[in-house]
Symmetry: D2
Subunit: 411 residues, 4 copies
Amino acid sequence: MANKHNLSEQIVLHGHIIDSLILPRVMDTVMDLGGDFDVTEIRVGRHKREQSFARMKIFASDEAQMSRILTALQSFGAEVENGSDVRTEPAPTDGALPDDFYSTTNLPTQIRLNGRWLDVAGTEMDLVVVVDRERGTAVCRPIADVRAGDQVTVGHEGIRVIPMEREREQEVFSFMRSAVSSERPNSLAISAVARQMRQTREGGGKILFVVGPAIIHSGAGPYLARLIRGGYVQALYGGNAIAVHDVESQLLGTSLGVNLKTGLPVPGGHRNHMQAINTIRRAGSLRAAVEQGILRSGVMYEAIANQVDMVLAGSVRDDGPLPDVVTDMMEAQRRMRAGLAGVEMAIMMATMLHSIATGNILPAHVKVVIVDINPSTVTKLADRGTFQAVGLVTDAELFLRELVEELDLPE
Amino acid sequence: MANKHNLSEQIVLHGHIIDSLILPRVMDTVMDLGGDFDVTEIRVGRHKREQSFARMKIFASDEAQMSRILTALQSFGAEVENGSDVRTEPAPTDGALPDDFYSTTNLPTQIRLNGRWLDVAGTEMDLVVVVDRERGTAVCRPIADVRAGDQVTVGHEGIRVIPMEREREQEVFSFMRSAVSSERPNSLAISAVARQMRQTREGGGKILFVVGPAIIHSGAGPYLARLIRGGYVQALYGGNAIAVHDVESQLLGTSLGVNLKTGLPVPGGHRNHMQAINTIRRAGSLRAAVEQGILRSGVMYEAIANQVDMVLAGSVRDDGPLPDVVTDMMEAQRRMRAGLAGVEMAIMMATMLHSIATGNILPAHVKVVIVDINPSTVTKLADRGTFQAVGLVTDAELFLRELVEELDLPE
Amino acid sequence: MANKHNLSEQIVLHGHIIDSLILPRVMDTVMDLGGDFDVTEIRVGRHKREQSFARMKIFASDEAQMSRILTALQSFGAEVENGSDVRTEPAPTDGALPDDFYSTTNLPTQIRLNGRWLDVAGTEMDLVVVVDRERGTAVCRPIADVRAGDQVTVGHEGIRVIPMEREREQEVFSFMRSAVSSERPNSLAISAVARQMRQTREGGGKILFVVGPAIIHSGAGPYLARLIRGGYVQALYGGNAIAVHDVESQLLGTSLGVNLKTGLPVPGGHRNHMQAINTIRRAGSLRAAVEQGILRSGVMYEAIANQVDMVLAGSVRDDGPLPDVVTDMMEAQRRMRAGLAGVEMAIMMATMLHSIATGNILPAHVKVVIVDINPSTVTKLADRGTFQAVGLVTDAELFLRELVEELDLPE
Amino acid sequence: MANKHNLSEQIVLHGHIIDSLILPRVMDTVMDLGGDFDVTEIRVGRHKREQSFARMKIFASDEAQMSRILTALQSFGAEVENGSDVRTEPAPTDGALPDDFYSTTNLPTQIRLNGRWLDVAGTEMDLVVVVDRERGTAVCRPIADVRAGDQVTVGHEGIRVIPMEREREQEVFSFMRSAVSSERPNSLAISAVARQMRQTREGGGKILFVVGPAIIHSGAGPYLARLIRGGYVQALYGGNAIAVHDVESQLLGTSLGVNLKTGLPVPGGHRNHMQAINTIRRAGSLRAAVEQGILRSGVMYEAIANQVDMVLAGSVRDDGPLPDVVTDMMEAQRRMRAGLAGVEMAIMMATMLHSIATGNILPAHVKVVIVDINPSTVTKLADRGTFQAVGLVTDAELFLRELVEELDLPE
């Protein structure tokens, strides 16, 4: 086998590489990709606060295999020890990339330029790094925003990511990390979420809520409105439906024709949905409806009255839609990206579409809470990427009600 | 076609047969079974309080078909108008039935004996009616309890069931009747359940709780204990697991090794489960553990202290089990049946096995509430038979917490 | 109570109003809305092929209540017997409606203009009817497409819908109509779907597939490709993800980095997703990639090669997206609407978003099959509106594999 | 902190302790339990075939804490290096244990007796080890079977478990190990299961099927019958329901009253269920019904005709039950345990109750496949204990159909 693997590279790993499972994963990955390794040096922290260090020789049989291995190891924080600078190639046309482009993770990333490590701005999953060699800057950019001639980083040399390490102590979220389950004490989880929200706000971080229409159907609208008034919502992402249902509930007392006081469908009430849309369209927009005194309460009202950074991203199933809904998806993504500055915590409730969309653009350090009655949705969202995500399988209404109580918010 | 259907029988239908969808279902059923019908007389209630009446001629091509049709129509309350008495045949051996046995529904049932309609005692699904002609009595009996020579009703003549009619007004449950959905305002539903519980207790009816182990895991044990202390639980059915978890939580602070204060698994804590079992086995029983002062709080403690009619029915997956668990299934069913006297309302939470077992033996007039985080479970349970069942897709802990608040129960 | 209800209107109901549960629903609705009724005439079909007829007086206490009742009854096919023409009012501005606008169902609808009943073109749910009195035409239109001054129908007079009646015999779908369940013989259902597909194609109807990305992940892509080649797919609606995964699977053998031959994730393979996007963006479009010989097989290839009417409607979670994806939602809806002409059957698989979007714009006569592994999704979709929808809770791959076998399609 | 931890013990770890994540877990556990550690020696395998070794000093502040830590570490294969023999104490009464009893895992376990390591027979989860010092034997025993005076192992000294190590190469199941998902290519998984079944049979291992009633409802009965005839089922565990449905389907063509040819419910067909039960009860048993020629086909027939080791374990929801059903749960567990000898592979389908019951008593080396349409069920089962379990979220019927094809079994 030795003669098959005639190429080698040296990599180093730092930090809690045993405790954080990085070393085993690196070994796994090399073997899964058909390579081999030699651990040439290892220093294991003798007790819990000490860091570990490993130096490994990686063997591969050809360049393509070596490239695949090194690409995979990079996401664990492995650094190739040959001291090369990052390589770049120009984008061939607008909105397209050179073949060997480097695709980012959502972890903090650095590139080596002129022998020095440089932070990449705006790290986010599945983007590319565009380098401005003159200014000495590097930024993440979506493929659609790349312009012909942009210098895009390629290959794997001179690039490193800083893996997340597990915080052990005072880890508010730690107990929720285990497998998603509907049989856990959710009250404890809700207390933990409330504590994290307080901590985030005290530290000046912003909290983002990503919400689906079931919030309104389930009667949880008033709790979300109180969270906004209470200063716990700096950004709000959703779609046309939650806005329409909220308006319908405020103006007509129903949500999709179901009376929210009695829970009974109002016969013929499906019309209320269209009537709510029409009212806002006639007013001009949600903001105009607030200013004209038409909309005086509810989630939309509070979001507007409290200067929440709101993005209503449309979808192909929308009725109407409301004039405030961004119907172009590229524009919607741009606005959602723009709204993330300063966000330290994100709570995603009862929406798969908008939650995935937000998850795609969140940096890894944002603490994410996913709440849904459907365990598949929670699992699907919580499993994506290297997030600090915790999932709660529970009822949105009861969750928000208890959260509001925990945060001691007035009605 | 007329000559194919050379047999006919006359049936009558009374009550809200149009409003309660009985007439359409009768028509449907006759056609689905290949028969035909003539509506010979119909009187439709001119407004909502008036009853309707229909007389129909049913056609079939042979006896077997006619028998199938009449059997099916009986469950809608159709009465064959030929004035015959019920027929009976003796059971051939212990625990077995004559071929043409009549299988009961869970609706009130009457048989005609010597020309007079007689109530059948203990109506329950899928049983048989055993007639004592000397005493002039008729009782429902499970197949296993039938003895050789018992007179078992056969065929379809001289038997009628009284279908449930929809109560329209002040129907506490009505709004929950529609399809099971996780997107409804559960708070409204919980209020309605609380009102129904109050009403049931005020009328002297008993309330049965059927509960699974997730009650304890999810931290809802204390709320259930409060409901028992508050007098809202007269019967409690469950299995070994809920009892063991409850004991473990009271003695060791964990449920299956998960600390209920922190939500974190206690390393090595899986042993706590066996330790709880051993403690009760050493004491002799749950009641003995209460009397010896070993068990001083929790769901089991309260149930014993408050003389709740408790049945812990075993299952093949049980560890231990506790000495109080009934390990023979026939005996467990007998005890569960015996505990149903006076039960007017049943709340089934987080257990499919025990809920189905209870559902099998409940008469149709008992109001049933099914609570589970899994919509499939709720649908499966709510869809069985002709129940007055309503389903809530929600979190057991948040449900019980809110129920306790609605009922204003002290800690 | 009589003196409370001082307004009355006469309505008539025709057809299988008892058998199709229309009469009971009408009675229910009137009472639920606080009105009252008198059945003044009723003729019940004496046997199964005869139609029934009922004339009822509806009582209400004020105009608003009467309006609510009549609006609700209209969707059951009730016709107000006062002989009035439809009323219209001009739209106040572009994209907005007069207050009392009539909101459509997806059932065939007629309006009375100059005393004659006129078909409304393009019936679809939640639209409005715009009348051209000069030309004597009436068309359905989405609110966003209404222009200031358009004559929009208002109120409830002179409007009637033709309710769907249950076909009893030879009803291919009938057995699947009952509650969604994962415990049914899906093979039977798949045979029925195949028969319906054959029947639809023989009658010249088009079949629409609405598909999500799990089709590719689950390895079902080749079966869908065979259905297209076999002439069973005239229209294909989906999003960016299914197209990207399909391209990735054809060019790189993976779907989101998972090798479709081995089922194993390829380490570092998340990059393949972006590489597939980049390849198509460099080619210019999917069609260009086909023409340049880059894309030679797969679902997208077959759809383009076989002139399938394809709409890829974007969403806010899209990566890239591919140049062929319609990123503006209003434009996407327009194209989806345009593609529905001639569609008689729709099969929706593994996508909630695009299925709901399509469901919103389908007329009621289209036969809809919903396939998803998640029962909640199936229930949610199958329960919407008055569709002829049947749901299958099953695995997309095994479903398509068996469908291809049933239809006897070559590889 | 050092002065708090004044107790220490030395432990050693052998094998693929880094690669198999054992070392990180040991570190984690010590810290989670409030202890501390010093890695005094570590030798990391330099490449993939070499084993690693670590020696650690564990610190704790008191005996109770040390005991908790060592108990937890034992399940990872840690061995306390003080050379002590195992300790035992007599059981205080029948069916109860000394306080400090050692609770087993499902991993191979050894105890040190007179300085020599001895294998414990019949390892299974949550049992205790009873030592016969005279004969020098040690056996696992359920608490209920312990007799007063039995020498039960206590504490943590002189006990070690052999942890499972990951096989990397030719690991048929490896690709299914990742998180349960409904979006994977199930065909690949089914091929892998078929290969494993062939391999197991070629090696002389037995295959156990654990099955729920949905097998029959879904029309999959004939495929399971073929698997039995084909020699791929040596043991079959289930309950009353699957047996009754199977008999009903063979004698009357329905399952719970649903015609398996048409998928349509037979009106009045709920009686068929009771009729099937009665037929078998009259015959005396399933075996008697086979011998009398009453039952000539189906799953039960094949199981009896092919000498499959069948256990029908009752439950409290059973109707009837059939005479073959074991209604005492302790007896049912005993029979299930007895049937496991030689079982190398277990396939659990569509039953939570019997799957958990079987999972409780399976040794860790048995390869387990869990098939259910409900992802929660699959997750719940696949997550229990240290199994080699893989889960498939799919349709039981389509799974079995494809499995039969993969195994090339005749009809």
